[in-house]
Amino acid sequence: MSCACKNPFNHDVPVENTPMVNVQIDGEWVQVPKGMNVVAAAERFQKHIPHYCYHPKLSVVGNCRMCLIEMGTPKMDANRQPILAADGKPEIAWMPRPQIGCATQVSEGMGIRTESPLVQECRKGVMEFLLINHPLDCPICDQAGECKLQEYSFEHGQANSRFTEEKVKKPKNVDIGERIVLDDERCVMCSRCIRFSKEFVKDDVLGFTERGSHTTLTVYPGKRFDNNYSLNTVDICPVGALTSKDFRFKMRVWFLKETKSICTGCATGCNVLIGSREKEVHRLTPRENEEVNSLWMCDSGRLGFHHIHDENRLTTPLVNGEKSDWSTAMSKLAHQLKNFQSNQIAIIASARMTNEELYLLSELRKSLGGDSILSDIVGRTGDADNILRNADKNPNTKGAQLFGFANNGKLKEIQAGLTNGSIQALLIFNESAAEAGLSLEALKNVPLVVNVGMRLNGAAHFNFPSASFAEKRGTLINFQNRLQRLNRAIPTPGQSRDDWEIIRDIKAAIGGGNGIHSVEELFKAMASSVPAFKDLTLGKVGDLGVVLNLG
């Protein structure tokens, strides 16, 4: 299995079977894959060589000069054989000039110094140069807290400035695209954004104008920087030059709790970090998974979380439009459900539900009458972009298939049954009636409509408020058959409950309690009955997921 998207470069991931070479890093001999650049090689041994322009997935340009290191090659004798020191290791001839680590590839017997006085002096010099024309506006800058200028200045810079000249003025608050704002005075001209857009997105719209200290990042005249991956440049911008219109001025990053989760915007299932504070999600950022999304995610996925804080969200259980409480509502529902034959009941499930929810729902379907119940999901297809966006806009179609809810065409039968009266009871989970092709008019005459979800269904007799993806735990199966975990970042609002609890309680109310009290127990029950999950636990799925054999 390989990454869903194609990186132009993978400096940190050596090609399989790359031979190892012996390299001396700060006096210690270690083995690293031949040809790997010094920054990536040192990183393997917890030695962070500071850098701005180098990025493991983009071309190497070597312009920031922050990764200057001392480098040496083995001393050779007359027969071109390395001269060995007393310890049997090659003697190293050090180069007098510092070299950039990002463009230096390791070879046998190479010596690298990442902390020598010369290296420290170089870093101090570069830090000073980067800051002399920088506005030093950290207090109003969104990057503060995750800014490489701040971090490296603290580690390698100096507290006072020798610069007494007037700073260079450049454009500020430049609207370069739908979702991005540029501050040219903060830019360190590392060109990561230019290379990302050109090399990864193939959208060559960013570039530099002017020259020398007046060099200015800008967008091509008449063009906008608004491709669907533009927000990744906010992530890779090492400073506060590119900021997200959606996130800026909303929250200081150090207040954000980061929860490892999955984007539910399409079948790719990009790994994300949910940045939240207390009850509110403030941003999603991509989380590295070389098997899925590498370091990236699309803008539509990244910004697709705002609906969870919709002020019209359903947060109280409603029975016939009246506020109720869960136990009353459940017993009323159980009472009503008994009035219907199994062939009068239909279930519209969602391929946005987790496997755990779908498993429980399949159990509920069994209790209600099994195969005689019509069930289906709402398919969502769109354009694939050959980068990360999958044509399937549901995050768990594979799970819905596995649990027998993806029944091509059954949705039409349900629609017809509701019209002709053969279906008398409809249970809708996490889908809007409209998207399922059902008008409120069509539902009005149906004797029992149950809606479990985040939004009110005006025609439903029972409206049960459930959880968003950021409020629940569970697993999804992406288009590569990779099983990945959602994690809870924030609590459910009001009286909303986790979907699986609602399904469990419906099942319990009609007389089928199963003694499941946690997602772990639920996963265990699912794993013991579904062969695809055999021997798995939530822990084994881990942060990066596992590939299932779905036969």
Partner: protein, 435 residues
């Protein structure tokens, strides 16, 4: 005693009645060497050039390794302050350059060559375009040159006005239609990954012209000109406070700096004294009048000995210039007399470099403008002695830490001026404050 010029490159230049059209060039023996060369085996030409010891950028760009060049580029982006030799060749004897290029291309089996000329030479570009047309009409360029089956095309490409395009990898980027950001080396050495990522030879105008003279004289004879390891002639451009500034051609090392200034250029104007000399284009480290240099020199018995030399006694060759801590560079000698203010001269240079820094890598981008601001303030007497120290340190933080040699080009003048004229800088720096 006047030292006689040895004119090879400048042989036709400023000769009465000599015009820059092809008829005149042919009448004076032009393209005869090409006719001879094209009958030779390419390896034989390469061997001659090697034997000549010609020291251009990599021995006339004839690669010593087994890379097979695809393109040849003539670097005619002559922009170094104090340098104006290529311009004379282009304007007054363009066919010499075209012939040199054709021979060099033939020797390397190159089928496509570019002549990159700086944007500020519009007339030069027109002259070269016409020269190429004339050469094509005479079947000296284009398809099936002189019936030999060898094809070569030369494109004239004008720059848009940036000094950095003279840096060979910056030039290549510019030629590819991009910003002239110099490439990192390794891995992008032109001989390996040059124009369009193909092996490429890049040479300057004078070097390519020299190829004709090497073949005409034979490599062995050519190598007798000048000094061992410093063979051939050198065009020197003298500017500044001398009586007769201009361009002169001598055997390498045939005369000393003193002879150049006093015998050839008629001495310092108005009978003044020398204060400082920049010997090889504005990037070269400045030499101060009265300095005594200690260099190792081969004695008659073959042994090496330390010799003390006055500034005026320095021979004009590559090795001696390097040994005294400067460089022969582009051959642009800038002479400053005793009335010149060193802070003013340096501020002028620093302003140039701040304006021309491409802005790609941090130290040069930020440092060059900082140095300009510091030198301007020192010149205006609105600084302090401390600022002079900061200036030197800024230069130290640039040199050796940049992508291309521009880092050295902009910091060497600063380092050398400030070190050698420290007292003057510190005095001038505070002048304004006292008033």
């Amino acid at each position: 005693m006047a030292i006689a010029e040895k004119r090879l490159i400048l042989k036709n230049i400023d000769v009465a009645g000599y015009t820059n059209d092809i008829e005149c060039y042919i009448k004076n023996g032009g393209y005869e060497v090409l006719r001879k060369a094209i009958a030779m085996k390419p390896q034989e030409i390469v061997a001659e050039v090697k034997a000549s010891g010609l020291r251009g950028r990599g021995g006339a760009g004839f690669p010593t390794k087994n890379t097979k060049p695809v393109y040849l580029i003539c670097n005619a982006d002559e922009s170094e302050p104090g340098t104006f030799k290529d311009r004379q060749i282009i304007h007054k004897d363009p066919h010499q350059l075209i012939e040199g290029m054709i021979i060099s291309c033939f020797a390397n089996n190159v089928k496509l060559a570019y002549l990159y000329i700086r944007g500020e030479f519009p007339e030069g570009a027109r002259i070269l375009e016409r020269a190429c047309d004339e050469a094509r009409q005479k079947n000296l360029l284009g398809k099936n040159i002189l019936g030999t089956g060898y094809d070569l095309e030369i494109y004239i490409h004008r720059g848009a006005g940036a000094y950095i395009c003279g840096e060979e990898t910056g030039l290549i980027e510019s030629l590819e239609g991009k910003r002239a950001y110099p490439r990192i080396k390794p891995p992008y050495f032109p001989a390996v990954l040059g124009l369009y990522m193909s092996p490429t030879i890049v040479n300057n105008v004078e070097t390519l012209c020299n190829v004709i003279h090497v073949l005409q004289m034979g490599g062995a004879n050519f190598s007798k000109l000048g000094k061992p390891n410093n063979t051939g002639t050198r065009v020197l451009c003298v500017s500044g406070d001398v009586v007769k500034p201009g361009y002169y051609e001598f055997e390498v090392g045939a005369l000393t700096l003193g002879q150049l200034i006093y015998d050839v250029c008629g001495g310092i104007r108005d009978g003044k004294k020398i204060k400082a000399i920049i010997p090889g284009g504005s990037s070269a480290k400045v030499l101060k009048a009265g300095e005594i240099y200690k260099i190792k020199q081969k004695q008659a018995d073959g042994s090496m000995a330390d010799v003390e030399m006055r500034l005026e006694d320095i021979p004009m060759d590559f090795d001696t210039m390097a040994a005294i801590g400067s460089m022969a560079g582009s051959g642009g000698v800038i002479v400053m007399d005793e009335t010149r203010s060193m802070p003013e001269c340096l501020a002028n240079l620093s302003e140039f470099y701040a304006h021309e820094s491409c802005g790609q890598c941090t130290p040069c981008r930020e440092g060059s403008l900082w140095m300009k601001k510091l030198t301007s303030r020192i010149r205006d007497g609105k600084a302090s002695a401390n600022d002079v120290g900061v200036l030197k340190n800024v230069a130290d933080n640039i040199a050796g830490r940049t992508i291309c040699a521009f880092g050295e080009a902009c910091s060497w003048p600063v380092q050398s001026f400030v070190t050698k004229f420290k007292d003057e800088f510190e005095t001038v720096a505070g002048n304004g404050a006292k008033k």
